[in-house]
Amino acid sequence: MAATLVKPPNSTYTFSSQPKAVQQQQGQRQKFRQPVINQSDENSLFGNIMYDRRVIRGNTYALHTLPAHAQPDPIEVQRQQEAKRRALARRKAREQIRTKTPDPVHNRKNIDVQTELYLEELSDRIEEADVDVQTDAFLDRPPSPLFIPQSTGKDICTQIETGDLFDFDLEVKPIVETLVGKTVEQALIEVAEEEELAKIREQQREYEEIRNAELIELQRLEEQERRLRAEKERRMKQAQEALRLEQDAAQKIAARAFAKAYLQDLVPSVFNNLRENGYFYDPVENEIETSFMPWLMNKTMTHVNQLVLGRTILDSIIRDVVNQRIDDYDKLAEALKQTIEGGIDMGTSTGDIVHSSEQNIENLESNHGELNVTMDNNTNEGGEISNGALLNDETDEREEEQTNANEDAGGEQ
């Protein structure tokens, strides 16, 4: 493609790389083989900016300080020239290897020909058509259509006859079998699961029935047992109760009888005891005993004491008298003796003396007898308790009189 120099009108600049029409890329469909590119055109071609040497690549912080327009290092220049020469040589070699259309034979011209089925008019002039479109106001931009790149490469078509690839019926069999098998298996599993559950429930139900039956039986027997036992207990308790009551009654009766027997002579004995102890007293008698008798006794005692005193006095008197008599008799005896001795002639007087002495003695003895009699009378009187006090006093007085009389009598004698 010819590079037409484009120069912007009225401009002060030139293009470093001239704008030109887009070139077909290497991989895409090229209408014609590209002619050999001269080295001089190399720079005027569009370079890929990625491979443009003028663009600084890489780290810009530690940049090589040599700016672009400084004096190029001669070594660098030489190296670059060397690289260029080598690249050119390589390209030349490649070009030589590439086959070209042979040169035309004498009197013949090479002409471009199309090998397509249908002729296509080729022209350098790119057919242009101007189409303009104006979207409706306020209409949204429709989505961009899907970009499907044109298919490159050669178009080749074939025709597949029946039976070329595979036999559908044969091939589909295992697939369908698998599908159906899997479906049926899944269905079977689900049904089996439900059936299993149903069977388990059935078994559970039967077990429950038996269990319930046994449970009820158990409880019923328990209940029966309990009832019978309770009944028995009740009866036994009743019997025991009856027995106990009987025993109690028997014991009560025995106790009552015994108590009665025991107490039978309790009352009489008690009364006896009481009576013996003087609790039942005739109040008159009691009074007599408590008041009268002591008085009586006192009086009796005094009386008796007096009697005793009297007796004692009498005894002493008698003794005195007797002593005196004795003395007298002694004297008499003496006198007698004397007389006897002195005068036996006085024989008759002894009798008088004797008689007088005997009279004395008889008086004494009769006094004694009277005394005894009176003593007996006194004792008799003393022994009679039932006499009244006055009577007693009288007797005492009589006794006193008699005693006095006796004493007097004694005294007289």
Partner: protein, 340 residues
Amino acid sequence: MASSTIPTHYPQLVDPTRTPLAFLNRAVPRLNRELQSDNLLLRQRAVRSLCDYLHDPEHMLPCLNEDIPATLLDLLKDTDQFCRLKSAECYYVIASHSIGRQAMLACNVIPCLASLFDDKEPSVRRNAHKAVSMYSEAPPGAQNLIEIHLVDTLLKKLISELDEIKELILNTIHFCLMVDVEQALAADAMSTLTSLLEHPSDKIKTLAALTIFHLSVSLKGKERAVEIGTVNELVALLDSNDDALKSKSALALSIICIITPGKYCTIKAGAIPKLLAMLNKESTELVVNALKVIACIAEAPEGRKKLLESVDQIERYINHRLPNLAKHAQIAAKVIKWMP
């Protein structure tokens, strides 16, 4: 023809509602990651795929190793209804395996599921109840439910919920009661269940009768049942057409009849002729339960008197091929003929 260059777009999704599963053992970690993502759509698709993936028992163990139940816990509280729905369903599938139940126990999932009971969407509630129901079927699960006092909540829900959910709740309660009855009795379950006996649906009545049976295993339950007149309702139910319902009512009656007031209540309500009618049926469960009620009633003197007339009907069954049936027939006959 197709070009040989690798295309730039992903392959078309066959089902846009679920994420495609990664290959082999990469599937679970990827699902786990996607479940935790912030994008709602991703979460929804992941949880849906997970739900289907879990159905295979062989996939259960890797899922549990990756601690998927813990991830699902967060999803349960998600604001989107679909996520909650599907995660509850995932729990339902997990709970149907025993290692899954153990993992659920370890992650303490049940309280979160329980909070879903109050959800506005019925389908979410239903799935939550399904999960809890499945979880309770094994004894350790039921034990756990009892420990966290869920029975109370369930009983309250029983009154106000939809029918199909009621069935699930009754199922759950039924399993919980097999472990421990105290809590339910304390929450006055008997009156709730008695009121449920009047429900139009047969299935619910059957389940209610079964639950009453479990409640009445303890003495307090029996007394309470007699107190509030459950016996009359149950005897009325003996007339119904549904076999299962009849047998379950008979079951409940038989256990209530063990205590003396229960016996007299039943006899007064005129249960004996109905039970004798039940003896002629084919279903063995029905016959067994009828025989048990008869055995219990025969403990009381009045019952024995009335049943003496029908002893030969019972003796027919003594040589039945089912050992269970024969045994109970024998017991019933023996009790009727017993003399003090």
